[in-house]
């Protein structure tokens, strides 16, 4: 889900991997688990990519463009 967080997803992925590794799953279940694992993996990969892109953007901004933009930090 969209609200799924990277960490939760990664945790689920790990759980799936552990279950898969235990070998106790039927192929069917393995397949299902695996399928789910792939989803999580993709999600995580996506989140990571997103994060990296955002960092780049932020850093890029900061080094140049950003300074000229109006910025008003919010009160923490």
């Amino acid at each position: 889900m969209a609200t799924e967080k990277f960490e939760t997803s990664l945790k689920k992925l790990e759980e799936i991997v552990r279950r898969l590794e235990s070998g106790s799953l039927s192929l069917e279940d393995s397949l299902k688990a695996f399928e789910e694992g792939v989803k999580h993996s993709s999600f995580c990969a996506k989140k990571l990519d997103e994060a990296e892109r955002r960092v780049e953007v932020l850093l890029k901004r900061k080094d140049g463009t950003f300074a000229r933009e109006p910025f008003e930090p919010e009160e923490g």
């Binding site: 990664l10 992925l13 991997v17 069917e28 694992g37 993996s41 990571l48 990296e52 900061k62």
Partner: protein
């Protein structure tokens, strides 16, 4: 006559006459000495007195004629030597000495006369100091009353000559001894007074015996000297001899030479005195002028003060002006210093330094921020990577890739036994690549 041989009765008168005869005959000329008492000199001019000694007394009389010749006056208590004859005063039945000559016992008659005259004149006041006149301070002409041939005038002239004294001498020649000398001297004194030619008189003579000098002991001289309006210097005999004239005179010189010296001395002294006075006169005025000059000079010098005062004041003004400038310069200088110090401190604390510090801090923080985030991503990436890799390894698709397929019923249930199947069931076969929907045609080995 032997009056004792037979009884012859005499009358008193007879007897007295007899006795007088005897006495007068035997004591026609006797000298007797005794002390005078009961002296009386009645108006008759006869002198009556008694001579006595410790054992007896003798009645004496001196008749008027003899009294006249006496140089002195007898007095009670006086010791006298009398010369005379014894006689008897019938009426009283007394014997007495009829004196023809009397002289004082012990001293000569002249001395006695001298003493008596001296005493008498002294009593009268002829010797009084109050009557004595001062010598003229400046006797120009001197009257000398003495013998023109005697030693006195000679000595006087010698002295004047010796002392170079400018004096005029007017000699009045007189006899200075012998009968009549005294009245002559007296007259000379009077004449000199009358003539008024001289300022002072020297009356005198050279030395000699008492008799020689006698004229100067005579009353007539003494009175003339006393009368004299001109000052009289008495200069008789030698130093030790004093005459009546000496006592009366205004000044007594022991000798004529000494008298001349006195006069000369007074003249010379006068010259000296005048010179001294003139000198003093000049000195007094000159010293006064000098003193005044000195005083005026001193005061004049003291008057220089304003210059000094002005100098001091000018110095003070200069000093103050200098201090004024200094103070003003110091005022700006101090303020300048204080200001410059403040300015440098201000500059030192300019926000530059703060901003620089902040820049560093900010740079560090920004760096950390970036690194932390990158690390985080990297870390997560890593964690994910390993899990993803393990997943890959475990993929069931590997089994499928070997030709296995998973058959699932239409309800999705994985079919693992034919028992589950009925012919005609639709099966979904999952292959390694893709899925295939199949229909069950036949069932075999239903019990296996």
């Amino acid at each position: 006559m032997d009056i004792f041989a037979e009884k012859t009765i005499l009358t008193v008168s007879r007897l007295t006459a007899l006795l007088r005869g005897v006495l007068e005959e035997n004591f026609e000329q006797v000298w007797v000495q005794g002390e005078v008492s009961n002296l009386s000199l009645p108006s008759s001019g006869h002198l009556y007195f008694t001579l006595k000694d410790t054992g007896a007394q003798l009645r004496c009389v001196m008749f008027k004629g003899a009294v006249k010749n006496l140089k002195f006056r007898p007095a009670d208590g006086m010791a006298l030597i009398a010369r005379g004859r014894i006689s008897v005063y019938d009426q009283r039945g007394e014997y007495q000495l009829i004196c023809e000559y009397l002289e004082p016992a012990g001293v000569g008659a002249l001395q006695m006369a001298f003493m008596q005259l001296k005493e008498r004149l002294a009593k009268e006041g002829l010797f009084d100091e109050g009557h004595k006149q001062p010598l003229p301070t400046f006797p120009r002409r001197i009257g000398v009353i003495t013998s023109a041939t005697g030693a006195a005038i000679h000595d006087i002239l010698n002295v004047l000559k010796r002392r170079f004294a400018s004096l005029e001498i007017l000699l009045y020649p007189v006899r200075v001894q012998g009968e009549g000398a005294a009245p002559e001297i007296g007259r000379a004194i009077d004449d000199m007074n009358r003539l008024g030619l001289v300022d002072v008189l020297i009356v005198g003579r050279g030395g000699g015996s008492l008799e020689d000098l006698w004229a100067f002991n005579e009353e007539v001289v003494a009175r003339a000297v006393y009368r004299s309006k001109l000052p009289v210097i008495s200069a008789v005999g030698h130093e030790t001899d004093w005459t009546i004239c000496d006592f009366v005179a205004d000044l007594r010189a022991p000798t004529p030479s000494a008298a001349a010296e006195l006069v000369v001395a007074s003249s010379l002294e006068l010259r000296g005195q005048l010179d001294a006075l003139s000198h003093h006169l000049r000195m007094a005025l000159e010293s006064r002028l000098a003193a005044l000059n000195a005083r005026v000079d001193a005061l004049r010098r003291s008057l220089h003060d304003p210059s000094t005062m002005l100098g001091h004041l000018a110095q003070r003004v200069d000093d103050l002006s200098e201090r004024l400038e200094m103070a003003l310069e110091n005022t700006t200088l101090h303020r300048r210093e204080r200001f410059e110090r403040l300015r440098s401190v201000l500059l030192f604390h300019s926000p530059d330094r703060q901003t620089e510090r902040f820049q560093q801090q900010l740079a560090m923080l920004s760096h950390q921020l970036e690194r932390q985030l990158r690390d985080k991503i990297q870390q997560e990436k890593h964690a994910f990577g390993s899990v993803a890799a393990r997943l890959e390894v475990l993929s069931p698709l590997r089994t499928l890739s070997r030709g296995y397929a998973i058959a699932a019923a239409s309800d999705g249930t994985v079919v693992t036994t034919v028992a589950q199947l009925t012919e005609g069931d639709r099966l979904k076969l999952q292959l390694f690549h893709g899925t295939a929907i199949c229909r069950v045609e036949e069932l075999e080995n239903r019990n296996a």
